[in-house]
């Protein structure tokens, strides 16, 4: 099920009461280097694939990008030709790809048709709010999902499991954007008899000054978007934690822990959960793509001034340069996060230490 590099070293069966530290250490450094190099290579290939896919999707698949972007607008043939020249679309495809790829190396993601600005700048302007929203949402969702997943998986079929699984499945079945719309109608629209507790969108109220006030105002704006994100993505964390813990439940070391006289809660917390957590962490990182999807929808619904809303505004035009840049950034960030997870994972799990 997992794509995780879980390789459990087979226990050396020879009786070696004192290991030979020097030889082991030098062999170990080599293994670590090989592991890191392997991961870097895989991530690098994935990034190249993303770059090629971005070019294929937005330069080749649409046929004539300029026609696609200007469809339904009154644009003369001369203007179209001018646009083509501006975007370098009059060049042969090979040259176009080279320009695009070399541009990426300089972190140049092209120019937005809609804003007439470099895509990189647009992204840098908006990346802060997205990280704030996605980070907060993912953190809360992961904590909530893991907490409830432990409760559900420790006694599968019990009342806690039934309630948690049912609620999680329901939230998982709800489209993210609809849940956001629902929350706006319920808590923000201010239609009688409901009071408008929260703002319908945005990140700050214009005119608010002072650090404390801005922080409080931002937090107030974050309540509904973060709740939406959490509700939709915590379910999968819950299910992952639940099944990992269920796999550990029959383990012998838990019998040892019980035999030692530990309370059930301690057996779970000190022994079962740390073992179940490791596959869970991997899967959480593998599912980061879902977080990106979630953040696009939540930002769109709540007019949150981040990358997701930028993506949505790019889609409406369609502003292919902008959408292409965002596609590359979204995909690359997921790949990089997974690379980090792969490199950090052995530090937390002694079993996969190379």
């Amino acid at each position: 099920m997992t794509g995780a590099p879980i390789t459990v070293p087979s226990g050396a069966e020879e009786e070696t009461p004192s290991s030979a530290p020097a030889a082991a250490a030098s062999g170990r450094i080599g293994r670590v280097l090989r592991y890191v190099a392997g991961r870097l290579l895989t991530a690098g290939l994935s990034l190249v694939a993303v770059v090629v896919a971005g070019f294929f999707l937005f330069r080749i698949l649409p046929g004539d990008p300029v026609r696609a972007m200007t469809e339904g607008r009154e644009v003369t043939a001369e203007q179209r030709a001018e646009l083509r020249r501006q975007f370098g679309l009059d060049q042969p495809l090979g040259q176009q790809f080279l320009d695009y790829a070399l541009g990426l190396l300089r972190l140049d993601l092209g120019t937005s048709f809609q804003y007439r600005e470099p895509v990189t700048e647009l992204i840098l302007e908006r990346i802060g709010p997205t990280i704030l929203l996605a980070g907060t949402g993912t953190l809360i969702a992961a904590l909530l999902g893991l907490f409830l997943g432990v409760r559900a998986g420790w006694r599968p079929g019990g009342p806690a499991d039934r309630i948690n699984t049912t609620v999680a499945l329901f939230f998982w079945s709800v489209p993210t954007f609809w849940l956001g719309l629902l929350l706006i109608v319920l808590f923000a629209s201010g239609r009688d008899p409901l009071p408008g507790l929260f703002p319908t969108g945005g990140m700050t109220t214009p005119g608010v000054t002072g650090t404390v006030n801005v922080v409080l105002d931002t937090a107030w704006h974050m309540v509904l978007p973060v709740s939406t994100m959490v509700a939709v993505i915590y379910a999968q964390y819950l299910m992952i934690m639940r099944s990992s813990l269920m796999d550990e439940r029959g383990a012998d070391y838990l019998t040892t822990a019980r035999a030692k006289g530990l309370r059930d809660a301690l057996v779970r917390r000190r022994h079962a959960v740390p073992n179940a957590l490791l596959p869970t962490v991997t899967l959480i990182f593998l599912n980061l793509g879902q977080v990106v999807s979630g953040v696009i929808l939540v930002e769109t619904v709540f007019s949150w001034p981040g990358l997701g809303q930028l993506f949505y505004s790019g889609l409406r035009v369609p502003d292919l340069g902008l959408v292409q840049g965002l596609f590359v950034v979204f995909a690359a960030s997921v790949i990089v996060m997974n690379l980090i997870a792969d490199l950090v994972y052995p530090l937390i799990d002694p079993r996969v230490r190379p």
């Binding site: 009786e15 070391y253 035999a259 006289g261 799990d349």
Partner: protein, 332 residues
């Protein structure tokens, strides 16, 4: 004197999918301080179930009846709080297959220290020293405390398990197949270690193994189990050297070598398989595989009976076979 461990009429029944599967069917055992008693039998004979039942460690689906007294206190009716206090502090278990019995993600020092902290055996500040002492006692350098289990060899892990079992200085240790997964040399080392520690600390030990020769080596008395019941019981040397029950005869003959993994499944020269516990044969459960079975064996399920009793009907050994009962009446 109260015996250290007193098991009376222990029954364990597993429920699986609506079917009741009896795993232990009326076992009596008793162990005095300093005694070493062996429990032998094939896989599935109920030996390990007994080990878990002693500290009420069986899963929820198992029904346990009878009496299990540790130092005079009935474990089966004990409150949870008291039970947790008895676990490890009074009776500890050296589990089989130390690879899986140690938590793979925690350092072994922490795992040895855990019962010390839970039971408050030594003051917090002295836990590290105690762990180091325990490791040295089982022949491991104290620096090993910082290692994770997978860095240790099988024998080393088994030593860690023993150190862990000794942590709270229990009066009873149950060694459940403690040497099974090890090769012959290591097995001998671990057995020597166990024997020495048990003698030094005056610990009572219940040693469970499929390997009768291992038990005969270490134990004072040996009980042989078949299909959830003890079929022969007596001084180790005599059960090993001159067994009476046909199953004990087969089991004794089955182990020319220590640690032959194939022999774990079935004693050599014994036809057939152990009975299906959910559907045992009538009469004596050993009948279908017994080389000396007779017609009566299909109807009579013999209890443990004294072997060669003295004039008052007492004997230091007993066996559950109609031939033993008949011999008493002089029919054989």
């Amino acid at each position: 004197m109260t015996s250290l461990l007193d098991v009376r009429d222990l029954h364990v029944t597993y429920r699986s999918g609506g079917v009741e599967v009896p795993a232990v069917r009326g076992v009596d055992l008793s162990l005095d301080p300093g005694d070493t008693v062996g429990l032998a039998g094939e896989s599935g004979s109920g030996k390990s179930t007994i080990a878990l039942a002693l500290l009420r460690l069986l899963p929820d689906g198992a029904r346990v009846t009878g009496r299990v007294a540790v130092a005079g206190e009935d474990v089966l009716t004990m409150r949870w709080g008291r039970l947790r206090a008895v676990r490890w502090a009074e009776a500890a278990i050296v589990f089989q297959g130390a690879m899986h019995s140690l938590n793979p993600v925690r350092r072994i020092g922490d795992q040895i220290a855990e019962p010390l902290l839970v039971h408050g055996t030594v003051p917090r500040g002295r836990v590290r020293d105690r762990v180091a002492g325990l490791l040295e006692q089982v022949g491991l350098p104290a620096s090993r405390a910082n290692d994770h289990p997978h860095l240790l060899s099988g024998g080393q892990r088994q030593r860690v398990m023993i150190a862990m079992a000794l942590a709270c200085e229990p009066r009873l240790i149950v060694a459940d197949e403690a040497t099974t997964a090890l090769d012959v040399m290591i097995q001998a080392q671990i057995l020597t270690l166990l024997r020495r520690l048990v003698a030094e600390h005056d610990i009572g030990m219940l040693m469970i193994s499929h390997d009768l020769s291992v038990l005969a080596d270490v134990c004072d008395r040996v009980a042989v189990m078949y299909a959830g019941r003890i079929v022969e019981e007596g001084p180790a040397g005599r059960v090993m050297g001159a067994p009476v029950h046909p199953y004990a005869v087969a089991l004794g003959a089955a182990f020319p070598r220590i640690g032959d993994p194939a022999s774990r499944l079935a004693p050599r020269g014994l036809p057939g398989d152990p009975p299906d516990p959910a559907d045992p044969p009538s009469g004596c459960v050993f009948r279908p595989r017994c080389p000396v079975s007779e017609e009566v064996c299909a109807t009579v399920d013999p209890p443990l009976w004294p072997v060669d009793p003295d004039t008052e009907g007492r004997s230091e050994r007993s066996a559950a076979c109609v031939h033993v009962g008949q011999s008493k009446e002089g029919v054989r």
